[in-house]
């Protein structure tokens, strides 16, 4: 199962790309699992996810908590706390 992963703001900058397609290994079933998996993909990912507790996520453009299951997701986003308004 492959899924589109998108990054915003400083996560995008640290990882060095706005989006990519990821094929999560078995056992990666939640947002938190996916973040941990991504953090192991290289230095730039480790830097982006160095403080996972402040990274926010969305599944198919709806906010998602770390324990949200990712099965069936088409697009998963990671981004810093929002600063709009």
């Amino acid at each position: 199962m492959s899924v589109k992963v998108v990054y915003f703001a400083w996560l995008r900058e640290r990882i060095g790309k706005p989006e990519e397609t990821i094929d999560p290994p078995a056992g990666v079933t939640t947002i938190a699992d996916l973040a941990a998996h991504l953090a192991g993909l290289g230095e730039e990912y480790a830097y982006a996810f160095e403080n996972p507790s402040i990274v926010r996520a969305a599944i198919d453009r709806v906010h998602a908590k770390p324990d949200a299951p990712i099965a069936g997701a088409r697009e998963i986003a990671f981004f810093p706390p929002m600063t709009g308004g």
Binding site: P80, M82, G84, G85
Partner: protein
């Protein structure tokens, strides 16, 4: 013929755009020809130069999710208060000091509903709508991303 006017009267008007907005036009679209509105509250958020330090703010957003998330907040506001109209517009891109960033317009028969709905919208937009601000310092160079404030997250507790 004037679809935005019809929309304003029946469901929230949500727009995510790089262009500026016109507060008076939004009020007119919401209230023109109506006789059941007693109160209109507008909130306009503007770019500050932070004591001359900033040349601009750059607003990145998550297209698709931004509109959807603002719409969800607006629907919740419309559920909580008896509104006769609600508009939320959020800009993205490069915005210079003195320029508009965000607009909320809330209309109701009564003033308390209009005030509370506009206030609620801004609290939730700040913490839920996927926008990120980056500073462009007047001195040049790559500016820092604005950090979220705990007080913004804390403010949500006012509406529990």
């Amino acid at each position: 013929m004037r679809p935005t006017v019809a929309d304003a009267r029946t469901s929230p008007v949500i727009r995510v755009q790089s262009e500026d907005f016109d507060v008076a036009a939004e009020i007119a679209a919401l209230a023109g020809g109506r006789t059941d509105i007693g109160a209109i509250v507008t909130f306009t958020g503007l770019c500050r130069d932070e004591g001359g330090r900033l040349a601009a703010l750059e607003l990145e957003h998550y297209p698709g999710m931004a509109e959807g998330e603002i719409a969800r907040v607006a629907q919740e506001a419309a559920r909580r208060w008896p509104l006769t109209g609600l508009v939320a517009i959020h800009r993205y891109g490069l915005i210079r000091p003195g320029e508009n960033i965000v607009l909320v317009v809330a209309a109701s028969a009564h003033r308390r509903a209009a005030f509370e709905a506009a206030d609620f919208m801004m609290d939730f937009l700040k913490s839920r709508a996927p926008f990120w601000k980056r500073e462009h310092p007047r001195e040049g160079g790559a500016g820092a991303w604005v950090e979220a404030k705990d007080e913004d997250e804390d403010a949500l507790g006012r509406w529990d």
